[in-house]
Subunit: 249 residues, 2 copies
């Protein structure tokens, strides 16, 4: 069974994230971008720089979602294992991409009159059958293999790479409404249950707060059918006692 | 095969994170805390509020790591399914915890002279066999089931809950050294390979930058044996040409 269209999964590859040396900013940034494009993200998995774990995570992501994005592990050093892992995940060989090699030669040998070393040659390696998109400004190409877009982990390069392919993923928008409430979640639960039952196509979430905000609960309504989202929101609000709603958005 | 001691995995449960309505702050915060305690985090998985996906993620986390932490999905509404998912993951029934029920009764019925509703009764439900830690200040108990610590998603409550059990997880510290370099990763790769081969117990990472920072690459050395970490760092630095090192930390 192939994953539903308009869905995505993210695989964040990096010991530096798991060891709290850096806070991943690529995941949250891409979640916002994909939401804006109407894409529903089904999972985000952060894994170490270890080929077997990346292979499993990528295969799981491919079963979960139509589009998969990886962040990190691209480069010439020992801890850059994403290309090898992707090749293994799809049972491909790792091959040298002729165009990448040519561009790297121009850049490196042209400038320095030195031969490329083994590490530099690795930069031209891709899983066999991958598609490469070279952008005039970019240091790395955007590499795609089947449904997987392979992006570098350095945030500026990650963003540049995604923005070069962004419009490929746009789909029908997800509409959203929110109601901010003065009631507790316990008082709302029966009305939420009734709304969930009446509008099975609308995603409904309930988010309490325990601070001094102007509301105690935010309820959200999400879906691709704008009228249904609005109706679900109105159905819910109509069930509530007077004074329950602080504001809507 | 049981997972190695001193390891952890995180399962972040929440449609609101995947749909970019909020940026998860519990994951990054807990990664820093666990690092400080010497715990090695092996994976972080963010999944929707869907029982089958939570069950799979929790079971995978339990195979990967000695300690598992979940964030979110605790509460009285339809989208709070973590207790049900944990019960299913461990093949337990969902039962009402007598002490929780008593505390909720005091709090809710004592104040309002009303009977608890069905949603409020759900707040006392736990997987059978779970351990509960009630803290005087807290609204929710910290629930543990086998190796899993079940924490609420609201950041203030998540932090309060973890801090109540934090010291249980402290283990031998992870030592870290860093070298900041003026060279490119390609020029460093052979020296990194030699260091990785000579110090198999030390985790070595290489992180390039492409901005105007004072260095082009940061190389990190991590391990539980402080002397080995220092030796690996010195071994690497000694191989480099003069001027390569900008600074160390």
């Amino acid at each position: 069974m192939s994953p539903p269209p308009g869905t995505a999964a993210l695989v964040i590859i990096g010991n530096e994230v798991l060891s709290a040396k850096v806070v991943d900013e690529n995941g949250p940034w891409l979640l916002r971008e994909l939401r804006e494009l109407g894409v529903e993200v089904r999972r985000v998995e952060t894994v170490p720089d270890e080929i077997p774990l990346i292979v499993e995570a990528v295969q799981r992501a491919c079963r979960s979602a139509a589009h998969v994005f990886t962040s990190g592990g691209i480069g010439p050093t020992h801890d850059d294992v994403t290309i090898a892992a992707l090749a293994r995940a799809f049972e491909r060989r790792v091959v040298t991409d002729a165009r990448s090699l040519e561009l790297l030669r121009e850049k490196i040998e042209g400038k320095t009159a030195r031969r490329m070393n083994a590490a530099q040659l690795r930069l031209a390696e891709v899983p066999e059958g991958a598609q490469l998109l070279w952008d005039a400004q970019s240091i790395f190409p955007v590499i795609t293999l089947e449904q997987v877009v392979i992006l570098p982990g350095v945030p500026a390069l990650f963003k540049q790479g995604f923005l070069a392919v962004r419009e490929r993923f746009r789909t029908s928008p997800i509409f959203s409404r929110a109601v901010f409430l003065a009631s507790s979640e316990s008082a709302l639960a029966e009305h939420l249950d009734a709304t969930v039952a009446a509008f099975p196509e609308v995603g409904i979430g309930s988010y309490p707060r325990f601070d001094d905000a102007d509301h105690r609960v935010k309820v959200t309504f999400d879906g691709r059918a704008e009228a249904q989202v609005a109706q679900a929101c109105e159905f819910f609000v109509a069930r509530l006692p007077p004074g329950a709603v602080v504001r809507t958005a």
